[in-house]
Symmetry: C2
Subunit: 581 residues, 2 copies
């Protein structure tokens, strides 16, 4: 089995297909039917958000789902079009196309393809750790900013006015200008759609108290999009509202996607590299967080590198289908699981279901109002706005709050990619800054014990001849010179001392710059007639030290414990005050 697992490591489907049974098939089929019904309006809505033709929302929900079912590792994650990735696509393709609608579509397809290639490359090069660059505050700021932008951008569909803008200021200005042109019929339909979306949500709690089966409660509470689509479409058709100015989806070409490569020049591809890389990171973080949360509930395990491969292939499949980038969807994944999905077969069947819709049922969506799609997007996205986190972070950690605020401001005031990039660069810079200013404590002995603690926090005994210093940070190029100066200054401030003992329990690593600084500190202290000693050096750090000449040039010694160092360097101080003596 282990051998088989190794052989098919890029085809995780072999794991669950071998033991697939009738019970699983029943659950998966029911889940697939429900998710398909939910996915159609979502796919159309996210295609609209991405600025793409409606049919691409369906295309993004066929091949990607099938590929993820075969190559992904999460058993019930529902992959497909999603709000954040659609927004990033619209923003980057809009920047590239500069108003050329044909180029826009090609750029959006290229973004999906390229981000898929990035994900596969990250899987092969085992670069899953790169997603760690997106810190929690940066992600929160990014999602909140995107949600605000998305909600604002959909107002034009809810009111049928003509407003656009890549950042909030322009968008708000054009919205304010156009507000008097509000189309009242569209607004009425928007409000009906919003009511259809919200009512099932509020029914969830009372329904849970009834005897209805869990999957049915889950479906009813999530069926708002379907209800909104049904009600508003029926109203439009029966009252011929489209002839009275209500914008509708219109004709969607029936059929399956044609496989083509996007028609982009070399310089177009080059300018898509950075946004596609950011899209890949964001899409993956969204997907893996969801997959891990699901796996934890069922004591399963998600392999980040295999997950990268699964999501990467899904995105390549979407790009080749002429559609846009996909990722894991929170709402559909919940429905999928609650409706009984137990294996990726549910995803595969959903893909086939959407293919059937694309082949035979596109006509049903001709009279679906765009306002309903906008309402689906807005109601779905608003709960993601989490500005109170900023206040919470401010109390907890200023650098984290700063990173979130910068990301949020960047997304709202510049554009989504710049905001994300700003957040990443700032959080790395703040991390470097923080590790460059480590906590340094002067230690004293807790009377009568072998313990040495920070003199500022504990009541301790100090000795005249020995200065005990603990550095609570690994030594590396970012802080080596600063620490060298601080320790040296500390020694200068105590002219009577003869020895410095550096308590190394907080030092997890040493790099070449740190070794250089330790050697320089040793030399500077030697010129001042003071020896340098080390204590409590960790195993991995000692392994590094013995590779160098440092132990030979060290004026003092390396002691196993701080107490041992004091026994040798200042034995009187221990005996005098030791109550056991």
């Amino acid at each position: 089995m282990a051998d088989a697992g190794r052989r098919f490591r890029w085809l995780p489907a072999s794991d669950w297909l071998a033991s697939y049974n009738r019970e699983q098939a029943a659950g998966d089929t029911l889940a697939a039917i429900i998710v398909t019904i939910l996915l159609v309006p979502q796919g159309l809505a996210y295609a609209m958000l991405a600025g793409m033709p409606p049919e691409t929302g369906l295309y993004a929900s066929i091949l990607p789902l099938i590929l993820y079912a075969l190559f992904g590792t999460s058993r019930t994650l529902s992959v497909g079009p999603a709000a954040l990735t659609s927004l990033i696509t619209a923003s980057a393709a809009g920047t590239l196309a500069q108003g050329d609608p044909q180029l826009f579509i090609q750029a959006a397809i290229g973004m999906g393809l390229l981000s898929g290639l990035f994900l596969v490359a990250m899987a092969i090069l085992r670069l899953g750790w790169l997603t760690n660059l997106l810190s929690h505050p940066v992600i929160t700021g990014f999602i909140s900013g995107c949600a605000i932008l998305i909600a604002a951008s959909q107002l034009k569909h809810l009111l049928r006015i003509d407003a656009s803008g890549e950042e909030l200021v322009t968008l708000a200005q054009t919205l304010a200008q156009q507000l008097p042109q509000t189309h009242w019929l569209t607004l009425a339909i928007s409000l009906i759609a919003i009511a259809c979306l919200l009512i099932p949500k509020y029914l969830a709690t009372p329904l849970k108290a009834t005897r209805l089966p869990g999957w049915l409660v889950a479906f009813i509470s999530k069926c708002g999009p379907i209800l909104a689509v049904l009600v508003t479409t029926l109203l439009t058709v029966s009252l011929s509202l489209d002839s009275r100015g209500l914008a509708v989806v219109g004709a969607i070409p029936a059929g399956l996607p044609q496989f083509t490569l996007p028609g982009l020049g070399r310089e177009h591809w080059q300018s898509l590299i950075t946004p596609a890389a950011l899209l890949a990171l964001i899409g993956f973080v969204e997907s893996i967080s969801l997959a891990q949360a699901l796996a934890a509930k069922r004591r399963q395990r998600v392999d980040a590198n295999r997950e990268l491969m699964g999501l990467g292939l899904a995105n390549i499949g979407s790009g080749l289908s002429g559609a846009f980038a996909v990722t894991g969807s929170f709402s559909r994944t919940t429905v999928n699981y609650d409706a009984g999905a137990r294996t990726p077969m549910a995803g595969l069947l959903t893909g086939i279901g959407i293919a059937l819709v694309a082949l035979f049922f596109t006509g049903w969506f001709h009279y679906l109002p765009l306002a309903s799609l906008a309402a689906i997007i807005v109601v779905g996205i608003l709960p993601l706005i989490n500005l109170s986190e900023l206040k919470h972070l401010w109390a907890f950690s200023r650098p984290d709050a700063l990173a979130m605020a910068a990301t949020l401001a960047g997304v709202l005031l510049i554009n989504v990619q710049s905001g994300l990039l700003l957040g990443v660069v700032l959080s790395v810079a703040l991390f470097l800054w923080r590790t460059s200013q480590p906590h340094v404590a002067e230690l004293g002995r807790i009377p009568g014990t072998h313990h040495f603690r920070n003199m500022d926090r504990h009541s301790v005994e100090l000795t005249e001849e020995v200065l005990s210093i603990r550095v609570d940070e690994s030594l590396y190029f970012g802080n080596a010179r600063t620490l060298e100066d601080r320790i040296y200054d500390e020694a200068q401030a105590h002219p009577q001392i003869q020895h410095v003992v550096l308590h190394c329990s907080g030092i997890n690593h040493l790099d070449a710059s740190a070794m250089e600084s330790l050697e320089s500190l040793n030399e500077r202290l030697k010129n001042a007639g003071v020896t340098l000693n080390l204590s409590n050096v960790k195993g991995p750090v000692m392994d590094v030290l013995v590779k160098t000449d440092f132990p030979k040039v060290l004026t003092g010694r390396v002691y196993l414990s701080h107490y041992q160092a004091m026994e040798v360097l200042a034995p009187d101080s221990l005996q005098e005050q030791d109550p056991d003596a």
Copy 2:
């Protein structure tokens, strides 16, 4: 006094001027005379290296020295033209000017001015820690690469052939092509100059054994440049070698610099920003390292932020004088100190000395061969090539070796700025990578003690119910998710455990992403029926933890020591095997 110090904190000269005495004046005057004599040929040589007219080498040695004497903090550092900063100037100005000689000069002046402004801004914003971004391996790789490039670029003057190229491959190709055109008379003068440069160096050791005063020995051992200038100029004049094809400095306009601003357009300034920032960092690192080494010998102290101000004003002064960037010079600083300089007055007097040369003695350098200047540069720069460090680093730390190799290769094969930037970016990326993969140890108890150590390194006792894990790294966004997974997987691998105790002695910080991961780990373990406990939490980390809800949701407890945790969670394991029981 403390108050006065505070009032004049940007004019450190007030510190030493108040107690200036006759003895100091005598030492400073002698040092100034000697350094002036040494600085003239060096200034001309570094102007040639920077691609600037010879008089700018003098201009860079007047006002900058006077400003540094007033505002710098190092007492004997000799500021002025230097090899690395001249090379960076030549490279960046060459890239901008694209062959336009007038634009080249303006760009070089702009670089000096801009890097001075950066340094002053860094002083005001207290950004001295930014120089920590230049790790020791990156600096070593950068200096070695520059030294090789400089030496190769000077061959054209040593052989009087026509070769150029910003990177080593082009340079080597054109040199190889032009080699047959070697001008033999120039080569002969070059060899004579090199002999003049090397002989005094080798005399230093035997002279030290004599009774000659120290300053004279120091001067003789460093007087090679003066000897080379004297001998080759006299040969040129007496044999009219310039009429036989030997290139000489030619007419240098007499007089003091005119103060002007460089004539550059907005886009020129913009394209100089990055190289000027790198120039500022490199110049400052060179200067501060030297200043700190000097201060340590005399138990003095250098304040990085005030030093930034001093060097920044010196560079602004150089730019306003129509000259190029300056920094601390190792060779002249040694001579300055050995010749008796005790206060910055020596630097001030040197500046006045060079001003006198610029006013009255420029004619003396008309017949100075360019080959002699090239020889001064090459002999000065060759000892800086330190390729063996690469081998040394490889044995000690692969990431450090990689950073040095990348910097070296970038400098040699692309250009100096790109090489430096590559090194900085790579060392930050490698640091993030390393901290994203921390050392995690499973702990056991050393029998009969209160100590818990890594089971892979020590012979320890393990318990069935409790998993003890120590993480040797601060938790931050770069490793939070990875660690969460590793600890969870570790717990999954021991199905019989009921408690996880996280030994936190190596955790120096927690950021918001880490808190998120700890909460998620707590939740995941709870779903698996396992409690999460913490032990040995450091003070600063505990301060952060209590600000959050985490202690309330934690399924286990926070224990002061690991032993206490085991006493509560697995008391049997301690009693059974405790030899004292």
